[in-house]
Every structure is written in structure tokens, then in C-alpha cells.
């Protein structure tokens, strides 16, 4: 119950990002423990924030004690606090896993890596916690700029992929900024709560309509929703493995959060659903994203690229839930923000571990992987089953709510799309599992029936986060009823 906890969540990683530069020059080995320390403190502060929200309701934190709408305000309600805990927990887990792979992939850039890593996390946390439109733009750009830099230090194709991402990301951010400008012209305010009170009288103004369109396109670019996803597969394939494990679960989810916030808090649901058919368009785009992502994932031989396309389709699931615009659909979307973060975390960490041991991520080269890395592959199977949607894992529950929402909205096409994509995901993951688990028959291996394959599991600092993520997927599945009844029930906008 620390009253400053909403600000501490953001400020601690920000301060330590710059302290690392100083301390790293002095002792390089300090970077890793400092990062872990900063991220765990930030995680504790976010837990405290969530606890305060659950017991005492929405927190309003005035920065510098300037009252809104003049000052910048941090507003934390159930939705914020929920996403805040997800972001800080996932970045902590990725931080723990980063030790060995950063030492190997970027031996001479450790200090700068951790500095930018913490700035990236600061950006994500700031986007989630702020209650001011322009402040959100600044944090969006902090997160994006750190993301471009982190992706660019990856393997061969990374700088070029990162440059393409920069072009698209800048267009997205500029559209968002234009939207803020249009809203400011017509209302004279930048505070979200203030805007939501002024805007209903202006809903028929063309300026407000254009602002809404700019927001939607800008945020869709940042969260890589289907026709605007082109930057994502390259960027996340060539990035260093730690960076993909951080960006893939979080960047798209934070974008989805901004979309929910703009559509249902800044603008009223009445505007986004009835006055203009924004949610309907979003639903169809999302259905396209789900099918397109899964089908293109089928065509990939590179495991990491396949996961990047699965991510495109997972973004579609969240957008579909938002597009359905009913209680079950939004519950599914918000639950999927949590579940998909854990699934993507587990999958990208596993790919990082496989890369660390075998330097290859072609799917046909995964042979005997279950003997080499039994625990890692077990986590991969759990995450894969969750993406497919098999009951004890968490992926089942969010898909269940999405299907219920689609039935409530009487959108049978969306129900079909959800089921077909699950079936295609079965093919996707069993192709990998077949390569990793089933061994060729003896006559093909040339006699030697018992190949001596030593277990060479990933190092402990890499294995622990993978196991945490795998266990998390199972645990979240079992607990999903309680998560919905204590948090998500209040996070869904009231009028649904």
C-alpha cells in the first residue's frame, strides 16, 4: 500500500537504465544483477498497485501534484493494473533468462544492451500506467525507439528488418500524434478522463471522426494487426533471442491495451460500436489476421519465423475479442492478453534455448531434441497445446470466451474462423513435435539402434524462466476462473 507505487513502477527502471551506463563502465558484471534488481522492484511495485486497486478502487496519481486536466495524471484501474503486472512480470522473467544468451550473442555490448533493455521496459510500463494522451505518445516512442535499437543488434538481416520496422513504427506513432492533435483542437484537453467527458457532445464532428481513424490506424500499425503486420515477421526473426522474447509477448499486447483504452475509455463504446462501425471493421480485419497468420506459419521452415506468424494470428484473436464488443468477447480479449503473453514468452524462450545449444532453428533439424533438451521441449509442448487450445492450458479458456462472444454476437463466420485456426495450429505444432520427438526407424538410421545422444539441457539461468513460463501456462489455465471473477470482470468497460 505504498501511495507512490504507480510512479515507482515506471521510475525505477528509468533511473536504473542510466545508472547502468555509469556502473557498467566500472564493473561490467554488475549490469545483470542491477537489471534484475530494478525489474524485481518494479514488479513488486506493480503487485502493490494491483493490490491497492483491488481493495480500494481506481488510483489517481498526480505527478508533481499538478491536478488534471492541467498536469499529467497516472490513472490505474483494473485493466491497467492487470496489464501492468503482466508487463513487469514478463520483463522480469526475460531479464533473468538474458544472462547467458547476451553474453554469447553480444559479448562487447552488454552495458548498452541492458541500458536499452530497461528503457524498453520503461516505455511499456509508462504506456500502460498513464492517463494522458500525449504522455502515452512519448512512452510509445520510448518503447518503439528502444525496440528498433534492440532489434538492430541481432543477426545478419537484423539492421534491415529494424529499418523497415522504424519506417512503419514512425508512421504509426505520427498518426497517433495527429489523432492527439485533432482531439486537442476540438476539445482543448489531453487528459483521458477529461476527454471522455467533453467528447460525447462532439461525436458528429468530422474532426473527431478523423482523430478516431488516425488512432485506430496508428495503434494497429504498432500492434501489427493483419494488413499492417508486414514489419513484424522479419523484425522478430532476426532480433537477438532475448529481444524477441521480450518484444513478442509485450509490444503487441501493449498496443492491444492502447486500442481498448482509446475505443472504450476515451471514446464511449456507444461511439465505437454504434455511431461508426469501427468494431465491425476491426472484427473482420482480425478474422483475416487469424487465418492469414496461421496459414503463412504453415509455410515456414524456420521455427522462429513460424512463431512470428503465429504471433500475427494471436494479435488477431485479441482484436477479434475487441471487435465483437460484447461482455464475453472482451473478457476473452483481456484474458488473451495475459495468456498469449505467457505462451509467446515460453515459445520464444524455448527457441532461444534451442539456438543457444544447437545454433540452428530449422524445423527439420530438431531431430532428437527431446533427448537433448527434455525439459525445454516439454515446455514447448505445453505452450504449443495452449496455442492450439487444449483444456488444462490457459489458451483454451480465452478461446472459449472468444467463441462464446462470437456466438452472442451471432457472427457464425467468426466462430468458424476460430475453430479452423485451432485445427491449423494442430498441424503447425505437431509438425514441430513430430520432428523433435519421433525418431526415424532403425533401417533409415543405418543400423545403430541406440544412438548415444547426451542430454545437454540449456543452462540453468535459461531453463528456469522456461519452466516458470511453462508452469505459468498450466497454472493460469487452472486459475482462470478466479482471475476473471476478481480482476477481468471489473476491467471490462461497465456498459457491456
Amino acid at each position: 500500500m505504498v501511495p507512490q507505487s504507480p510512479a515507482l513502477v515506471v521510475v525505477i527502471p528509468l533511473i536504473f537504465a542510466f545508472l547502468i551506463l555509469l556502473l557498467g563502465w566500472w564493473r561490467r558484471g554488475l549490469c545483470y544483477p542491477i537489471t534484475i534488481g530494478a525489474l524485481s522492484t518494479s514488479f513488486l511495485a506493480s503487485l502493490d498497485t494491483l493490490y491497492t486497486v483491488l481493495t480500494a478502487g481506481t488510483i489517481h496519481y498526480y505527478l508533481g501534484n499538478w491536478e488534471p486536466p492541467w498536469g499529467i495524471e497516472y490513472v490505474v484501474d483494473h485493466l491497467n493494473a492487470f496489464v501492468l503486472v503482466i508487463v513487469s512480470f514478463i520483463s522480469l522473467v526475460v531479464g533473468i533468462s538474458s544472462k547467458r544468451s547476451v553474453e554469447r550473442e553480444l559479448p562487447d555490448k552488454i552495458v548498452y544492451f541492458y541500458c536499452v533493455f530497461l528503457l524498453q521496459v520503461t516505455g511499456f510500463l509508462g504506456i500502460v500506467v498513464t492517463g494522458d494522451m500525449f504522455n502515452l505518445y512519448v512512452f510509445l516512442e520510448i518503447a518503439s525507439l528502444a525496440g528498433y535499437a534492440l532489434i538492430a543488434i541481432g543477426e545478419d538481416g537484423a539492421p534491415f528488418a529494424s529499418f523497415n520496422y522504424l519506417i512503419f513504427g514512425t508512421i504509426g506513432a505520427c498518426f497517433y500524434l495527429l489523432g492527439v492533435g485533432y482531439l486537442y483542437i476540438s476539445t482543448g484537453s489531453l487528459n483521458m478522463a477529461d476527454l471522455s467527458q467533453i467528447l460525447p457532445n462532439l461525436y458528429h464532428s468530422k474532426v473527431v471522426l478523423v482523430a478516431f481513424a488516425f488512432f485506430l490506424v496508428g495503434v494497429s500499425l504498432k500492434m501489427a494487426l493483419f494488413p499492417l503486420h508486414v514489419w513484424l515477421p522479419d523484425a522478430y526473426t532476426y532480433a537477438p533471442s532475448t529481444v524477441s522474447a521480450l518484444l513478442a509477448p509485450l509490444m503487441t499486447k501493449v498496443g492491444a491495451y492502447v486500442m481498448i483504452r482509446v475505443m472504450f475509455t476515451v471514446f464511449e463504446p456507444h461511439f465505437s460500436v454504434e455511431l461508426i462501425p469501427a468494431t465491425t471493421i476491426l472484427g473482420w480485419m482480425a478474422a483475416g489476421a487469424i487465418l492469414f497468420g496461421v496459414i503463412l506459419a504453415l509455410a515456414q521452415k524456420d521455427l522462429k519465423r513460424m512463431l512470428a506468424y503465429i504471433l500475427v494470428s494471436e494479435v488477431g484473436y485479441i482484436a477479434l475479442g475487441v471487435g465483437l464488443a460484447n461482455r464475453n468477447g472482451l473478457t476473452g480479449a483481456i484474458l488473451h492478453i495475459l495468456n498469449d503473453s505467457f505462451m509467446m514468452l515460453a515459445l520464444f524462450l524455448v527457441v532461444g534455448a534451442i539456438m543457444y545449444r544447437s545454433h540452428s532453428r530449422e524445423i527439420p533439424q530438431l531431430r532428437y531434441m527431446h533427448r537433448k533438451m527434455p525439459f525445454t521441449m516439454a515446455a514447448f509442448v505445453i505452450a504449443g497445446l495452449s496455442v492450439i487450445g487444449i483444456p488444462p492450458t490457459c489458451g483454451f479458456f480465452s478461446k472459449w470466451y472468444l467463441v462464446l462472444g462470437a456466438i452472442d454476437a451471432r457472427q457464425w463466420v467468426f466462430v468458424a474462423v476460430l475453430l479452423i485456426s485451432s485445427l491449423l495450429a494442430v498441424i503447425l505444432f505437431f509438425r514441430v513435435i513430430e520432428n523433435a520427438y519421433l525418431e526415424p526407424r532403425e533401417e533409415y538410421t543405418g543400423g545403430g539402434s541406440e544412438l548415444a545422444i547426451a542430454t545437454e539441457e540449456a543452462p540453468l539461468s535459461l531453463l528456469m524462466p522456461i519452466l516458470i513460463a511453462g508452469a505459468g501456462i498450466l497454472l493460469l489455465g487452472i486459475m482462470s476462473g478466479e482471475i476473471i471473477s476478481t480482476i477481468i470482470r471489473f476491467a471490462v468497460p461497465g456498459c457491456f
Partner: protein, 133 residues
């Protein structure tokens, strides 16, 4: 129609500039020209924000040196709106950092491929991906 264009000329200029920048970002094949496009695009947005703050006959929003030395009640209508200027200071910082990151990435690309033309880079990437061709 002409009146409509002339009375809102600041918005027309911003739209034209923004489209020039947009075209350069998407259409040009040279990476540095793309970066210049980003800059034009962002500058257009800054111009848009600043022009919305302007008022005919408005003065600086500093109360001590106001039109009548602050004796009378302050009339908001006679001051230029300072908030868009402040917002754009931040946006300029963002713009400069974007430029810095973009140039750093372009240097990394040039070291690797020895060219800044997108076509040639894509050609080289294709060769490195399929060594058998």
C-alpha cells in the same frame, strides 16, 4: 472553393508536406531518402500543431509583459496558446532521437552490404539466403 482553401491555408500546407514525406518514406528506394521523408513527415506535423496555436493579433503568453502590463484582467483571447509549442518541444526531441536511431541503423546496413539502395540490398539478401542459386 478558393476562399475555403485560402482561409485554411495552414492545414493545406501541412497536408501537402505530409504527403510529400509519406511518398518519400514509402516510394523512394534509397534508405537516406526514406529518412529525409520521415523528417519531412514529422516536420509537417509540428507545423500543424504550431499553426493551431496561432491567433491573429495574439501576443506571447507571459503575463508580466502583457498588452496592458497585467493591470486588467487577463484575456485569454489575446495570447497565443502555449501548450502546442510545449508539446512540440517534446515531439522535436522524439524526432531527433528517431533520426539518430535511423542513421545508426543505416550505418550498420552500409557496413554490411556496402550500399544504401533497397533493391541492391534485397538482391544480396536473396543470394545469401539461397547459397545454391
Amino acid at each position: 472553393m478558393l476562399d475555403f482553401i485560402i482561409s485554411k491555408y495552414n492545414y493545406w500546407i501541412y497536408i501537402v508536406l505530409m504527403m510529400i514525406g509519406f511518398y518519400a518514406m514509402i516510394g523512394k528506394r534509397n534508405l537516406v531518402k526514406k529518412i529525409i521523408g520521415i523528417n519531412i513527415f514529422q516536420t509537417a506535423i509540428i507545423l500543424f500543431f504550431i499553426s493551431t496555436a496561432a491567433k491573429r493579433g495574439g501576443t506571447l503568453p507571459i503575463v508580466e509583459h502583457a498588452h496592458d502590463h497585467g493591470i486588467h484582467q487577463i484575456q485569454a483571447a489575446s495570447y497565443v496558446n502555449p501548450l502546442p509549442h510545449v508539446l512540440m518541444l517534446t515531439a522535436i526531441v522524439v524526432m531527433v532521437s528517431t533520426l539518430g536511431v535511423a542513421l545508426a541503423i543505416v550505418i550498420a546496413i552500409y557496413r554490411r552490404y556496402n550500399t544504401l539502395e533497397e533493391d541492391e540490398i534485397l538482391e544480396q539478401r536473396k543470394w545469401s539466403r539461397n547459397p545454391l542459386l
